[in-house]
């Protein structure tokens, strides 16, 4: 589904990604973790072309994200993405947040878009908030709306870029619950997160990054049970001690 082949990326002369390769198969859940500044958020933003790369290729569903001829907007419409800071449109109601791309990109009628919006809002448990603005919702609720905004587009894969790290602790679980449910429904997911409990519960594989490189890329049991590199051991000991 996602094939990342030897990608490198520079900000000016600073190399943020260095020869990274990995893949995400259909219905697979892959967690990307690592210390801050390791390039994990940059990596996931490259997958749908939000960040350009200078070397390598990324193939999503058979289309090369990095090739010039690729219709990126058309491809992105099929790749859902959830951001650290939600990025709901603050000037629109929840309803319009969920309908905008359905109507403008998928050319669905207003009625059809609204009924799908209602369906997915119900799935994330927020039906009664459809007429509110994002500012009237809690962080956890906003992130669940953001997940619904991606799901209404019927994505073939969902990308999560630190979906819980801007949330107050008591709101993290309501978002993780939605993500676990999504994973159990068979959604293909690539998730940048520090939530190791989530990784243990639903991830098929864990990618560990440090200083722009992929240091480990192994099954979840292997990663947590027997991490190979010292850097991963160090990272896990710091993050799991509490």
């Amino acid at each position: 589904m996602i094939d990342i082949k030897n990608i490198s990326k520079w900000y000016g002369s600073f190399k943020v990604l260095s020869d990274c390769s990995s893949h995400v198969d259909q219905k697979e859940v892959v967690v990307v973790c690592g210390p801050s500044g390791s390039g994990k958020s940059t990596l996931i933003k490259c997958v749908n072309g939000l960040e350009p790369i200078q070397q390598g290729n990324i193939i999503v569903d058979g289309a090369d994200v990095t090739a010039k001829g690729t219709n990126l907007t058309e491809l992105r419409a099929r790749i859902g993405m959830v951001f650290q800071h939600f990025e709901l449109y603050p000037h629109m109601t929840v309803r319009n947040n969920l309908c905008l791309a359905q109507e403008k990109v998928l050319k669905r009628s207003c009625d059809e878009a609204v009924s799908r919006a209602e369906l997915f809002l119900d799935r994330v448990g927020l039906s009664e908030h459809i007429d509110k603005h994002p500012g009237q919702l809690s962080g956890g609720q906003q992130q669940r709306v953001a997940i619904a905004r991606s799901l209404v587009m019927d994505p073939i894969v969902m990308l999560f870029d630190e979906p819980t790290s801007a949330l107050d602790p008591e709101m993290i679980n309501e978002v993780l619950d939605v993500m676990v449910e999504l994973a159990e429904d068979g959604m293909t997911m690539m998730v940048v997160t520090h939530e190791m409990g989530f990784a243990k519960k639903v991830a098929d594989r864990v990618i560990f990054m440090d200083e722009g490189s992929i240091v480990e890329d192994r099954s979840t049991e292997e990663f947590f049970g027997n991490p190979e590199s010292d850097r991963a051991k160090d990272f896990l000991s710091k993050i799991l001690n509490h």
Binding site: K45, N48, L50, T73, E74, R76, A77, R78, I79, G80, M81, F83, H85, E87, L88, Y89, P90, H91, L100, A101, K104, V105, L106, R149, S150, M153, L159
Partner: protein, 218 residues
């Protein structure tokens, strides 16, 4: 001041009203045109397409380095040359105002666009919206909401600047007041009255801006 003649103001009100209408109409059209063209200039400068950004930046810097009155003159003489026929003082002045104000508006709008969080663009892109859809539905509505007070302030300045159109013999409010002042020999009355009218209109506008800012702050 003891012989202040209110009657001359009263008698000339219809004539002055025509002038004021021209001033307001010119302001209105120039604000609309200036914002539309200014938005395009701002988008060009932020486009990341180097030649386009350079042309837009060059235009903005050129216009901002030239007095408005000169631009009005230019277009009074230039537009008929380019079109091969006279377009009249009003339209040449309107074109001059739109092109001049667009340079100022574009700087305001550019700052407004940059004030919208970068993640908003990512959110739009990630759902498959194209560049124009993202601008139209996501970025510009938020940018303009932040900018309205300063756009109105710029409009008030523009309204005052319309008094310069006398150089192409347009009869705006200021010119109409002048004409009455000279033909009736009532300079004090007319210029005091003109000042009061400008003050009332501009001050009302400023109060409006202040109220909007207060409302937005809460």
């Amino acid at each position: 001041m003891t012989d202040f003649d209110f009657n001359v103001i009263w008698m000339s009100l219809p004539f002055l009203w025509e002038g004021l209408q021209l001033s307001l109409w010119l302001t209105f059209l120039a604000v609309i045109g200036g914002i539309v063209l200014g938005t395009l200039l701002a988008l060009a400068r932020l486009s990341g397409i180097v030649p386009l950004a350079l042309v837009a930046a060059g235009y903005v810097n050129l216009i901002r380095s030239v007095p408005l009155i000169l631009v009005i003159f230019w277009f009074y003489f230039l537009v008929p040359l380019v079109l091969g026929r006279p377009v009249g003082s009003f339209y040449s002045a309107l074109i001059a105002f739109v092109l001049f104000e667009a340079a100022y508006y574009s700087e305001i709008i550019r700052a407004g666009i940059q004030s919208v969080a970068r993640g908003q663009k990512f959110a739009g892109q990630s759902t498959g919206l194209n560049y124009w859809q993202i601008q139209r539905y996501v970025i510009l509505p938020q940018a303009f909401r932040n900018m309205i007070p300063i756009l109105v302030t710029q409009g008030i300045i523009l309204f005052q600047d319309t008094s310069l159109v006398f150089v192409v013999s347009l009869r705006d409010f200021m010119t109409a007041s002048s004409i009455v002042a000279r033909t009736e020999g009532r300079l004090v009355e007319m210029y005091v009255f003109a000042a009061i009218v400008y003050f009332v209109i501009c001050f009302t506008g400023s109060m409006l801006v202040r109220r909007m800012k207060d409302r937005m702050a809460t």
